[in-house]
């Protein structure tokens, strides 16, 4: 579905992604996991064509993905939904306006737009009376729901999420995690999720790609990463994120 072949990309001489090969299978959720600066967000931005690789190739359904505004690139982007931290909602448009922006631009009829908006509200558990609110009037969790709905508006083949829950407090975060998992399962789309939280990655994704310094360190399920680390960095990363609750629970089990 999505593939990177020998892709490198530097910023001001510093390589963010170096000679990366990656295949993202269709219909599954893949998490790109790693510490800040490991290149995971760069991969996502290369996938949707916000960045051009310095070398190598990015492909979507076999066609090259490139940055720029050529018609074929624009058409490609419309087949992908993109959600970023804190939503990236346009402050001058209300929730409905944000969701319907592209559909209206493409000339959808009002009834069709409304039908789709209603269906998405139901899917994401977003209250219909919130549609008239502006992003500044919505809570962080609601903003992410609107952002997700906006990404899903044209029923894209691929959904790309960059730290979608990064700015939320823990309660809302866990609630939204559950909703996301349900939505991914219901839609069965190809999903690529960027996160630095191993728990979130394990909860939402079938497969995790652990990255470090622009390279893939290990790829597999959460269980594989925890039980069969292929490099010392994997164990360190897993250990660093073990929560105090887990060790407490582990301690109780031993007693």
């Amino acid at each position: 579905m999505l593939e990177l072949r020998g892709v490198s990309r530097s910023f001001d001489g510093k390589p963010a992604v170096a000679g990366l090969d990656l295949d993202i299978p269709a219909g599954r959720t893949t998490a790109l996991l790693g510490p800040s600066g490991c290149g995971k967000s760069t991969v996502l931005r290369l996938l949707i064509g916000l960045l051009e690789p310095d070398s190598g190739q990015v492909r979507f359904d076999g066609a090259a993905v490139r940055a720029g505004d050529a018609p074929e690139q624009i058409a490609q982007r419309r087949r992908m939904g993109y959600v970023i931290q804190d939503g990236g909602l346009f402050p001058h448009l209300d929730a409905r306006g944000n969701m319907a922006l592209l559909a209206r631009h493409l000339g959808w009829e009002a009834a069709r737009v409304e039908e789709r908006v209603a269906a998405l509200c139901e899917l994401t558990h977003f209250p219909v009376d919130g549609l008239e609110r502006f992003p500044g009037q919505l809570s962080g969790g609601q903003r992410q729901r609107v952002s997700l709905m906006r990404a899903l508006m044209l029923d894209p083949d691929v959904l790309l999420l960059d730290e979608p829950l990064g700015a939320l407090d823990p309660m809302i975060r866990s609630e939204l995690q559950e909703d996301l998992r349900r939505v991914f399962a219901a839609l069965g789309k190809t999903v690529v999720l960027v996160t630095h939280d191993i728990g979130e990655a394990g909860y939402l994704a079938e497969e995790i790609v652990l990255m470090r310094a622009g390279q893939i360190v290990q790829r597999g399920s959460l269980e594989a990463l925890v039980r069969r680390p292929e490099a010392p960095f994997v164990s360190e990363f897993v250990k660093a994120q073990r929560s105090p609750l887990e060790s407490l629970a582990a301690g109780e089990g031993e007693a």
Partner: protein, 509 residues
């Protein structure tokens, strides 16, 4: 939006030259922005009308250059000038010894001059009559005998070639107590006894008012400033009766008569039109219409003129400046050239810009665009309005958060759609603030339009300054201030309609 368009179309009709049969020959008279010139201009206009022409008087134009260029360019047909100004300023550097040489020089420019009208408005030195009498001072030479006299001269007189430095040499004047000061202050200094001798013009109204004695220039130091009418050579064929009427004034205005008329206007507060009409009746036995409008009519006229200047120039500036701002924000290489250029335009002094624009507009005359009146004023206002709008458009677009710009791109919107649907609406508050600034500045600057004959609130202000008439100044200044406030109010209302709800301060955050 549609209403705005209709307004714009209406404006175009307002400025379009009114079509129709022009039976009587149109004659445009100009005058400089001092009282004597305005009275002479009024006299010429009324005589032209009495001679069967359709006369128009563009009064109080900004300076000799503006009138001279307008006359040569055909924007004006007639204006009063002084031989000294022709020789010393307009034909500076050429030796034009006598009237024939001057006429020949004028003819090269396609211009004719009348014989002198009678009075010589040159520099004179003035003293309070009683004091001059007591000291026995009648001529400038007499001053040599009183070395302790205190002199107060205008800055212009202190610097000019024919002014104090050469006068002192010519007459070997011994006085050391010489101060440079403003004209108005020097009269008061003379009146209060702090000064003994000041420079003035031989037809100044104050000569009468303060009871001054003009000292005779017994060595003939000051050049002659004989008043004459200048007209375009083609006027003699187009309106021979008008030329004949103007020639009828040759030698008919003595110095005392001009002083009295100036005094009536400057000190008595009489309207120039009325003074001119009475003069024409008394001197030539003709009855003319003084054309003096009442306050309400004047206000209506100046308001319409002012609004027209502001509306057209601002509309044009918005249409040009927003795309320029977009261009600057889109292409980093263009940002500095565009912002730099509009910034530099802003630093050109208004009068200089107006004078610079007039010759630039002159070639457009064949397309019906005049280089006097509205076109140069509107062009100048347009240029001054660019900076705030360009800069704010640029800033508004440039400051859009990069993550939102990326969101728009990732969504799959084309660049144009991103600009129209995302970037411009998000910058709308900043852009509108720029337009508001431009509009308020524009309303103020538009008062300078009067300097090139575009009318507006600047007209009563110019007259008021000239006549030292606070009421007249307020007649222009108060409506201008009110209009600025109204414009500000209109834009605040517009902000409510144009700035998206989600971007307003009153939205919950």
């Amino acid at each position: 939006m549609r209403r705005g368009l209709r307004f714009a179309v209406g404006l175009v009709f307002l400025v379009a030259p009114s079509a129709g049969a022009a039976e009587p020959e149109a004659v445009t008279v100009g005058s400089k922005k001092f009282t004597e010139s305005v009275i002479l201009g009024e006299v010429a206009a009324q005589l032209a009308e009495a001679a069967g022409a359709q006369a128009k008087h563009r009064r109080e134009l900004g300076g000799t250059r503006i009138l001279w260029n307008a006359l040569r360019g055909g924007e004006l047909d007639v204006y009063p000038e002084y031989t000294g100004t022709l020789r010393g300023e307009l034909f500076a550097g050429r030796e034009l010894a006598d009237a024939a040489a001057l006429d020949a020089a004028l003819a090269e420019e396609g211009i004719r001059a009348s014989r002198p009208l009678g009075f010589n408005n040159t520099y004179v030195l003035g003293m309070v009559e009683a004091r001059a009498e007591a000291l026995g001072v009648r001529t400038i030479s007499d001053l040599v005998r009183h070395p302790d006299l205190r002199f107060g001269f205008t800055d212009e007189f202190m610097k000019r070639g024919e002014g104090w430095p050469s006068l002192r040499r010519e007459y070997r004047l011994p006085q050391g107590n010489v101060r440079g000061l403003d004209h108005d202050i020097s009269y008061r200094g003379l009146d209060s006894g702090e000064l003994d001798v000041i420079d003035l013009y031989s037809t100044d109204a104050e000569i009468d008012y303060y009871g001054l004695r003009a000292l005779e220039d017994d060595r003939g130091h000051f050049p002659r400033y004989d008043a004459v009418f200048l007209w375009r050579a083609d006027l003699e064929a187009r309106a021979p009766a008008v030329v004949a009427a103007l020639r009828g004034l040759e030698g008919r205005i003595p110095e005392a008569g001009m002083v009295a008329m100036n005094a009536r206007a400057k000190i008595g507060g009489d309207a120039e039109g009325v003074i001119a009409s009475e003069f024409v009746a008394a001197t030539l036995g003709l009855t003319t219409d003084p054309h003096e409008a009442g306050l309400a009519e004047r206000l209506l006229t100046t308001t319409l003129e002012h609004l027209r200047l502001v509306a057209i120039s601002l509309l044009a500036a918005i249409l040009v400046a927003i795309p320029l701002g977009i261009l600057a924000a889109r292409h980093a290489a263009l940002a500095q050239p565009i912002l730099g250029t509009v910034g530099v335009i802003q630093t050109i002094p208004a009068l200089a810009l107006l004078v610079l624009l007039m010759p630039l507009l002159a070639p457009l005359r064949s397309f019906g665009i005049s280089s006097l009146g509205d076109p140069p004023a509107i062009l100048a206002l347009f240029l001054y309005s660019l900076l705030p709008i360009v800069r704010n458009t640029y800033a508004g677009l440039h400051d859009t958060s990069p993550s939102l710009r990326e969101s728009a791109a990732a969504l799959g919107l084309e660049p144009r759609a991103r600009l129209r649907l995302i970037e411009l609406p998000m910058a709308s508050r900043t852009i509108l603030a720029g337009v508001k600034t431009a509009a308020v500045i524009n309303v103020g600057f538009a008062t300078l339009g009067a300097l090139v004959g575009a009318g507006g609130y600047g007209q009563p202000i110019l007259s008021g300054i000239r006549l030292d008439d606070v009421g007249l100044i307020l007649e222009g200044a108060v409506p201008a201030a009110l209009l600025a406030l109204a414009v500000q109010g209109v834009f605040e209302l517009a902000e409510r309609r144009l700035v998206p709800l989600g971007l307003r301060h009153d939205a919950d955050h």
